[in-house]
């Protein structure tokens, strides 16, 4: 079989300048993706030192949107970057020294972990799981490997990056392929096309533009349903249903008699879609005062949903003190649909969608 040699690759795409420019763009998208993913992880598994505000109401929507958009943009960037350095794969000798061997190994970790993050993330937004692991756990662990190997890689390559970006580029040998500028423009354009084709899942302006968005406008009451009542094994609550708040109980009619608050708040799903909606219900500070509790107390929220990981959530004090945190009874002017959590659900500003517990049956001060 004919194996090419490093010097056979003459296209401008393989120049240091191209590699460095795309590498820097990837450093930006991966850093954004890592930090926004870390924020989401910390909100869902908060350590004692962690604090997440309840305002601005759409902050999590923005960070989660950035997570998905930067991840999508990274797919063409990573492929272009690896194409740019592809000739190095054929560099000989295979291993020159111990540092060289370590460097090659670190690049295997880098590209392996980067591909893993992008491919599993892309499959996850499509809710497509051709694997046996628990996605959040492994996607999170490998994210640290990816960001760590990127930082080490940049540290190793920094002199080359500086050289490539500060020197005026020499005119390379003529080649039949794209020019340096043509290759870079193609890369940026493709990243742009990838973002525009998908970002409608979270960016309202692109809602009817993105052909490959995983969300549509066909949601119940104008809002996508991530988990139907049937999937969660929840039956429609009957007239005997009562909400327990500490030692008090409320019927649905009693909840409707309490002062109601209307708020426009987004649902922002960890799986990369978001949608704003108008909610109406009892504000949590109000409800806590009605049972003689202090707003600002953390609450354990339990659902009628018994199976699954998200039947119970903890609402931090920051959110129970916010007047916009609602026990919602209505959505977009109608009684909450069963799939959206009838008889009542939590909708809090600036929280991941999976923690906006549906079919609430019990609230306990912690």
């Amino acid at each position: 079989m004919l194996i090419p040699k490093e010097e056979h690759f003459k296209a401008a795409a393989h120049s240091e300048r191209v590699t460095s420019r795309i590498g820097l763009a990837l450093a930006v998208t991966f850093t954004v993706c890592f930090l926004t993913g870390l924020i989401s992880h910390l909100i869902q598994h908060p350590p004692s030192w962690f604090f997440w505000p309840s305002r601005p109401v759409g902050l999590y929507r923005v960070t989660q949107g950035l997570h998905v958009i930067s991840g999508i943009a990274s797919i063409p960037l990573l492929l272009a970057k690896l194409w740019s350095v592809y000739p190095k794969l054929f560099g000989r000798p295979l291993v020159k020294s111990l540092p060289h061997a370590l460097e090659r190994l670190s690049i295997l970790v880098l590209s392996g972990s980067a591909f893993f993050e992008l491919s599993t993330g892309l499959l996850n937004v499509a809710q497509n799981y051709p694997w046996n692991f628990y996605f959040p756990q492994v996607h999170y662990a490998v994210a640290w490997l990816a960001i760590g190997s990127i930082l080490v890689h940049i540290a190793v390559k920094l002199p080359i990056v500086r050289r490539a970006l500060t020197r005026t580029p020499e005119a390379g040998p003529p080649s039949t392929g794209l020019s340096r500028r043509g290759f870079l423009r193609t890369t940026w354009l493709t990243a742009g096309v990838a973002v525009v084709a998908t970002a409608g899942a979270t960016v309202p302006l692109l809602r009817n533009v993105s052909g490959l968005s995983w969300r549509t406008n066909k949601g119940t009451q104008g809002l996508p349903v991530n988990r139907t009542a049937a999937a969660a094994g929840v039956q429609r609550a009957d007239a005997d249903w009562r909400l327990a708040v500490n030692s008090r109980t409320f019927s649905l009619a009693e909840l409707r008699q309490l002062p109601q608050t209307t708020a426009e708040l987004p649902i922002a799903c960890v799986e990369g879609w978001s949608q704003s909606a108008v909610w109406r219900g009892v504000s949590l500070p109000m409800l806590l005062k009605a049972v003689g509790s202090e707003p600002g107390t953390a609450l354990r929220v339990s659902s009628l949903e018994r199976s699954g990981l998200y039947g119970v959530s903890v609402l931090p004090g920051e959110h129970t003190a916010d007047d916009l945190t609602l026990l919602a009874l209505e959505l977009n002017g109608e009684v909450l649909d069963l799939d959206h959590g009838f008889p009542c659900r939590i909708i809090a500003p600036n929280r991941p969608g999976v923690l906006q517990t549906k079919w609430v049956t019990k609230l306990e001060a912690l």
Binding site: A141, T176, T186, L189, T190, W273
Partner: protein, 141 residues
């Protein structure tokens, strides 16, 4: 430069160690599915180097020889964008492991969306190919 490199490398190494610990937390005790996950991590660069990159090389060479010079850049850009769109659409189209559609999620028509997006890309390619352009400047030699 030395300080900058240290400031990048040290947190980088720390993140690698932390990532390895988190991964070990998942991977031990070893089970068959862990090998599948490891194969996924190692396999992706192999697939890129053995399949995607050679295909890029062959397609790039072929296009730059067949396509007239004025069309070369737009056609190659259109081909690259099409390939990436197909990658992005793949998890929406191939769904033996996908969740069933829910109201508002995965209940669209990704094949139609892909076709329309690719059509738009190639419309732009045609516009870029036929746009009037300056004559190349004389280079003197």
């Amino acid at each position: 430069m030395k300080t900058a490199r240290l400031l990048l490398a040290l947190p980088g190494l720390a993140a690698l160690v932390w990532g390895a610990l988190l991964f070990a937390d998942y991977a031990f005790p070893l089970r068959p599915d862990v090998f599948g996950t490891a194969a996924w991590i190692i396999g992706a660069p192999v697939v890129n180097d053995a399949l995607i990159a050679p295909l890029t090389a062959v397609a790039g060479l072929a296009l730059s020889r067949i396509v007239p010079p004025a069309w070369k850049t737009p056609v190659i850009a259109g081909t690259v964008a099409t390939a990436v769109l197909v990658i992005l659409a793949f998890p929406l189209l191939w769904r033996p492991y996908g969740t069933p559609p829910e109201p508002g999620l995965h209940d669209g028509d990704p094949a139609l969306g892909l076709a329309l997006t690719i059509a738009t890309v190639w419309l732009l390619v045609i516009l870029a190919g036929v746009r009037p352009r300056k004559r190349p400047r004389a280079t003197g030699s």
